[in-house]
């Protein structure tokens, strides 16, 4: 078992024939992901990486039955691509592109929600179910199958955490990069609930960062609904004070978003919080041996 994606998941790529889209789609195919086609306007009817290219997401979904889209279009077109996927009946859009305008993401996410489409990202490494399905830009070879679910705002900390978990001999069920932009799709709360329901996941690693209050919200959910052991790391304990002009944002969220505040909130609900990412692997071994 796993969450969200597995070896049967059919995936299309928006921005399929571009440089980034091509390179990573090829890597995903090599990992075993069922990439069934892609979308690039005006290249419909062509073949790319041995898979059909379509002009619209609608065409691609009708022909291939894909349920997931991996989005690599340039930042200015991300909002449009997400809304197109939502209307075409895609169930999950994995948005890899970095630098999408925040206003576009507000619109796109609201539209996705209206159409019942889940989103991941933007500006994230994607999602991988170990040894089954990689949808994103992570180095596939480090993800070995196992019993630990991982959720991270940061791409490289996803790799760091995974590598340690695998070296300790536990392996990964599914690892999810949620991104750290102001507007993101699936977040800790939805994903924690999915891992709680997944029988193969025995432990959850949660990697956060300073800023926002998603980790504080997660602590509330953990207290009420999550019974599986959790190991957490929050990056940015030594980050300098933000050089912002106004502090209205912090007032809105009701929290300053510091690492200390988040670590304390998680510790208070029984999460094993480590002070360095170098301790993640050992902490997982410890909680699993309890």
């Amino acid at each position: 078992m796993s969450i969200l994606v597995n070896k049967n998941t059919k995936v299309i790529v928006q921005g399929f024939t571009g440089k980034e889209g091509s390179f990573h789609a090829e890597q995903c195919l090599a990992y075993g992901t069922q990439i069934v086609g892609g979308v690039t306007p005006n290249k419909g009817g062509q073949e790319h990486l041995g898979k059909p290219v379509f002009n619209t997401v609608n065409d691609a979904v009708k022909t291939t039955g894909a349920t997931v889209s991996m989005i690599f279009v340039p930042p200015a077109f991300v909002g449009d691509a997400v809304m197109e996927a939502a209307e075409a009946g895609i169930e999950l859009a994995v948005i890899i592109t970095e630098g999408a305008p925040v206003k576009d993401m507000q619109m796109a996410k609201a539209h996705a929600t209206k159409h019942g489409m889940k989103t991941l990202g933007p500006n994230c490494p994607g999602i991988i179910t170990a040894e089954e399905c990689k949808i994103g830009i992570m180095p596939g070879m480090i993800f070995k199958k196992g019993s630990v679910g991982l959720i991270s705002k940061s791409g490289t900390l996803t790799y760091e955490g995974t590598n340690q978990v695998v070296k300790e001999g536990h392996g990964i069920t599914t690892a999810v990069g949620i991104g750290g932009d102001p507007i993101i799709g699936l977040s800790y709360n939805e994903l924690l609930a999915m891992f709680e329901a997944d029988p193969d996941t025995k432990c959850i690693v949660m990697i956060g960062e300073i800023g926002g209050d998603l980790e504080i919200q997660a602590a509330k959910l953990i207290k009420e609904k999550i019974t599986k052991p959790i190991v957490a790391f929050i990056a940015g304990q030594t980050a300098p004070k933000g050089k912002t002009m106004g502090h209205a944002g912090a007032i809105v969220s009701g929290s300053a978003g510091t690492a200390k505040e988040k670590m304390e909130a998680l510790e208070a609900v029984g999460v094993t919080v480590v002070v360095s990412p170098a301790e993640i692997g050992k902490a997982v071994t410890k909680v699993l041996s309890k």
Binding site: M107, I137, M245, G249, V275, S276
Partner: protein, 390 residues
């Protein structure tokens, strides 16, 4: 990206958001000329820096004569202003805004920001203007009203009524004025891809008009490509020179106070590396994210920027290659040793994509004072030891 008060007010004027008349100047002579042009009888001389709290820091002063304008301009221009939003070193004042004195009945607060939880903009207002809004939120949260505005429907009359009644405005003309003010402000927030607008204070005049006495604006960096007029307002002298230089090469750099230089891929791992160094008893000298497209040239540039800081006693290169290929980083390190004199120990940890090739490249290069680390913990420990001269 942030802009100056005078620039925010240019945008306000374009959208019909009322502000007092004012002129930006860069010399004392022009300050007096501007004051003459505005006419008086009262002027405000305002330091233009990218930070709040200027008034308390002595950067905003009232003048009642042209002579006084001259004296104050002399005093403020060229001063280093320290406020609660600047670093301890403060910021050099290079520009002044000479503004008409306003007829102030009372002071309110108004801002538009993104509410991350609701995923839409939020109008925030308070009758407690002129004060630090964080203090108001802390001490009297009931005096802050918040009105989320869904961009799909835009600013509607009911939003305006919530605002007017929330602020206790009962006069019908005043209600109309504040609603029109907020509507225009919301429009300019959306059309310019602003991240935040803060007007503190928003003043009510004795004839019931509302005026933006101050104006702070920040913008979504990801949207600057489609906002050329906003981008043209960027003032690089307000930004850290090393950070600006690093950004040209796709590097994200922030200087800190410690002794161990850091070069890492990804912001999360970069912060995690700093945290680990700290946990092991060392102090990070900087945050540096080489980004996803790191190559030999950018790595060499990274070394150059890190080594500009004389406090640096060791450098920890920590790369977990995903998109970034470790062999490119290794070549970058070799390139850097050719063009820069690297006089401190360099601790290198390379993992992930093409890590074996990278370690082969480094082994063959035979660089003195290069220390290879097995993992993050090992690398941080070796860096801390090296910085201590062990």
């Amino acid at each position: 990206m942030n802009i100056h008060e005078y620039q925010a007010k240019q945008i306000f004027k374009k959208y019909g958001v009322p502000t007092p008349k004012g002129i930006m100047v860069e010399s004392v002579k022009d300050a007096v000329k501007a004051a003459e042009q505005l006419g008086g009888p009262v002027w405000v001389v305002k330091a233009q820096i990218h930070a709040g709290g200027r008034g308390l820091g002595g950067g905003v002063k009232l003048a009642k004569s042209l002579e006084e304008v001259e004296t104050l301009a002399n005093e403020i221009l060229g001063m280093t202003l320290v406020t609660h939003q600047t670093t301890d070193e403060g910021k050099l004042v290079q520009k002044l805004y000479i503004e008409d004195g306003a007829d102030i009945k009372d002071e309110l607060y108004l801002s538009v920001v993104l509410d991350r939880k609701l995923e839409m903009p939020l109008i925030m207002a308070s009758t407690e203007g002129g004060m630090n809004i964080e203090d108001v939120a802390e001490n009297t949260p009931e005096k802050i009203i918040t009105i989320p505005v869904d961009p799909a429907i835009g600013f509607q009359s009911f939003h305006g009524r919530q605002l007017a009644f929330g602020l206790g405005i009962t006069d019908k003309q005043e209600q109309k004025n504040i609603i029109r003010f907020a509507n225009k402000l919301f429009t300019l927030y959306m059309e310019n891809d602003a991240e935040m607008i803060e007007i503190n204070p928003l003043v009510r005049t004795s004839n019931g008009e509302f005026l933006a006495l101050d104006g702070k604006m920040g913008f979504d960096n990801s949207a600057l490509g489609r906002q050329p007029e906003v981008l043209a307002m960027r003032d690089l002298t307000e930004e850290d020179a090393d950070e600006v230089e690093a950004a040209k090469y796709g590097l994200s750099y922030v200087a800190l106070d410690g002794e161990i230089g850091c070069m890492v891929n990804g912001a999360g791992l970069a912060m995690g590396t700093m945290d680990t160094i700290n946990y092991m008893g060392g102090t990070p000298a900087n945050f540096l994210d080489v980004g996803g497209s790191a190559n030999a040239e950018t790595v060499a540039k990274g070394f150059e920027i890190i080594l500009k800081n004389p406090k640096v006693k060791a450098i920890f290169v920590n790369i977990f290659g995903g998109i970034v290929r470790c062999d490119r980083i290794a070549n970058g390190i070799i390139e850097a040793t050719k063009i820069t004199d690297i006089h401190v120990p360099v601790i290198v940890r390379l993992d992930g994509t093409n890590a074996p090739e990278a370690s082969e490249i480094l082994k063959n290069a035979n660089i003195s004072n290069l220390i290879v680390a097995d993992d993050l913990g090992d690398g941080a420990a070796k860096s801390v030891a090296a910085a201590k001269g062990e």
